[in-house]
């Protein structure tokens, strides 16, 4: 019948609306369901997973030594030309000339955090750091030199 169908439609419609309103009321009254993280405030307790790809860094040990041999594998692996290896000639104690890295230039502004350089590195000299607040006022600050000044290659890394 027309009238019963009409009333049924109205009933069903109102019921579906009330079900939705019950759900939102539940969240309105249950504040423990709130999932907001107050980001700049929780900086101290913020833990990023160890694999998070923030930027490329070169770890140095306490003697200011790194593991980079200057093989340029990272430079070749990088799709964007983010990494540049600049060499210098060093004299070994025996008096021989030896090629070593002068600077490992890393352009953060070009980097897409694809992790290919870290994968390519044969001597584990570079790795991804968990930093992510990269904004600076001067674009030049984004061009970084990864090896510390005066650093040397670690003993035994070829």
């Amino acid at each position: 019948m027309f009238i019963t169908k009409y009333i049924k439609d109205v009933y069903k419609g109102v019921r579906s609306l009330l079900v939705g309103m019950k759900r939102t009321l539940y969240y309105f009254t249950h504040h423990k369901e709130i999932i907001t993280q107050q980001y700049p405030d929780n900086r101290d307790t913020l833990v990023l997973p160890e694999r998070f790809k923030g930027e490329v860094v070169m770890p140095h040990n306490e003697n200011n030594e790194h593991r980079c041999t200057g093989c340029q594998a990272c430079e070749l692996a990088c799709p964007n030309g983010t990494i540049k290896v600049i060499f210098k000639n060093e004299l070994t104690p025996e008096g021989k000339k030896k090629k070593a890295i002068d600077k490992l230039v890393y352009h953060l502004e070009l980097c897409t955090m694809c992790n290919l350089c870290v994968e390519a590195c044969p001597s584990d000299a570079i790795k991804m750091a968990q930093t992510f607040e990269h904004s600076v006022f001067d674009r030049n600050e984004l061009t970084k030199i990864l090896n510390n000044p005066g650093s040397k290659i670690m003993e035994g890394v070829e």
């Binding site: 939705g20 009321l25 709130i34 107050q38």
Partner: protein, 358 residues
């Protein structure tokens, strides 16, 4: 006891002792105007922060929590921002209408404040056709929206305004019919009469199911009339970017924004007055003790409590439902709300004649 009516009476007494009658009238009118503007601003601030908090909690967010204690001054900061922004008038706009529209919206909202009883014996203007006045003035609102939409010289704005025109004109019918249900029961259009008729029980309880139906129809219709979601087609964000106020910026936009919230407050105040007894406390039959306790709560708190409850309901709608389409919106009015409220009005009239209510 402390109450709004005492303050008003003492002020009136003092003024009439100090000044001559004409001066007293002028000063009282200015004071009333200032009070309305003050209330206007305060309502805007309170309702915006309320809406943001309600939406945040329903959306499992925290909401504004930085400016002031618990973010309570956020809307004040937003108002300051809007005040210092440039109010652009687009090239090709009808300059007069474009700049006039927000003020029309605001003036309409202000005029609607007149017959509302905020507390016991505290009313700006208790005119004998109060309810009719409200429904008449509130329909001027559509003119400001049409003006804004037309004068913006923007297709989105025009479409929003046209949608809003069709919508407000349609929904006025069922809003009016559900108001009539109370008027039929009371036998008076005067707001104070309607409130006094509910001294022994609010109409929503006294009037059995037909009154509940009228109340629900009223809430739905006024939600549509104030262009609130799920009936916010006039400013449907995903379709028309911002509808009729697409081209407005700065304080002109803020006035529209404010007018929307004040309109929500007013329709909720009307709803509370007609169906929930205005400032009348909640009484249950013969429970004298309970009724005494209820009487101790000031009448203004009763009024604002009921009004804000209704505002909460309307916000609750907004943050739960998706938006209707324009043809569905008109279907809902003409195929569902209007027939239901007409039949309902017939039943209410029969009840009033046969004295079936309590």
């Amino acid at each position: 006891m402390w109450s709004f009516s005492n303050i008003a009476n003492n002020l009136h007494k003092w003024l009439s002792e100090t000044f001559n009658p004409t001066m007293t009238l002028i000063i009282e009118m200015v004071l009333a105007g200032v009070a309305v503007i003050g209330l206007f601003a305060a309502l805007g601030l309170v309702l915006v922060i309320m809406e943001r908090k309600v939406s945040a909690w329903m959306q499992i967010r925290l909401g504004p929590n930085r400016v002031g204690p618990k973010g309570m001054l956020q809307s004040l900061a937003d108002t300051l921002k809007l005040l210092v922004k440039e109010g652009l008038t687009p090239n090709g706009a009808d300059k007069l209408l474009f700049n006039l529209a927000p003020f029309v919206a605001m003036i309409v909202a202000m005029l609607l404040m007149a017959p509302i009883a905020f507390a016991k014996d505290f009313q700006l203007w208790d005119l004998n056709i109060g309810v009719l006045y409200v429904s008449a003035i509130s329909s001027i609102m559509v003119i400001s929206i049409l003006m804004a939409g037309w004068a913006s010289n923007n297709k989105y704005s025009l479409m929003g305004a046209m949608r809003s025109g069709a919508q407000i004109v349609s929904y006025e019918l069922s809003a009016g019919l559900s108001i009539l249900a109370v008027v039929v029961m009371t036998g008076s259009l005067q707001v104070s009469d309607i409130i006094h008729s509910q001294a022994d029980g609010w109409w929503i309880f006294k009037g059995h199911i037909p009154m509940v139906v009228a109340f629900i129809t009223f809430i739905i219709a006024v939600t549509a009339e104030t262009n609130r979601a799920p009936f916010d087609l006039a400013e449907a964000e995903s379709e028309l970017t911002a509808g009729f106020h697409t081209e407005y910026s700065g304080m002109k936009f803020a006035l529209f924004f404010l007018a929307e919230y004040v309109n929500v407050f007013i329709v909720c105040a009307i709803g509370a007055t007609l169906f929930l007894g205005g400032w009348m406390p909640f009484h249950i039959g013969n429970w004298t003790q309970f009724n005494h306790v209820m009487d101790y709560i000031p009448s203004s708190i009763w009024f604002f409590g009921k009004t804000f409850f209704l505002i909460f309901v309307i916000m609750w709608f907004r943050w739960t439902f998706p938006r209707l389409r324009i043809d569905q919106l008109l279907n809902l009015e003409w195929k569902y709300l209007l027939p239901i409220s007409m039949i309902n009005l017939l039943i209410v009239t029969a009840m009033a004649i046969l004295k079936w209510h309590f």
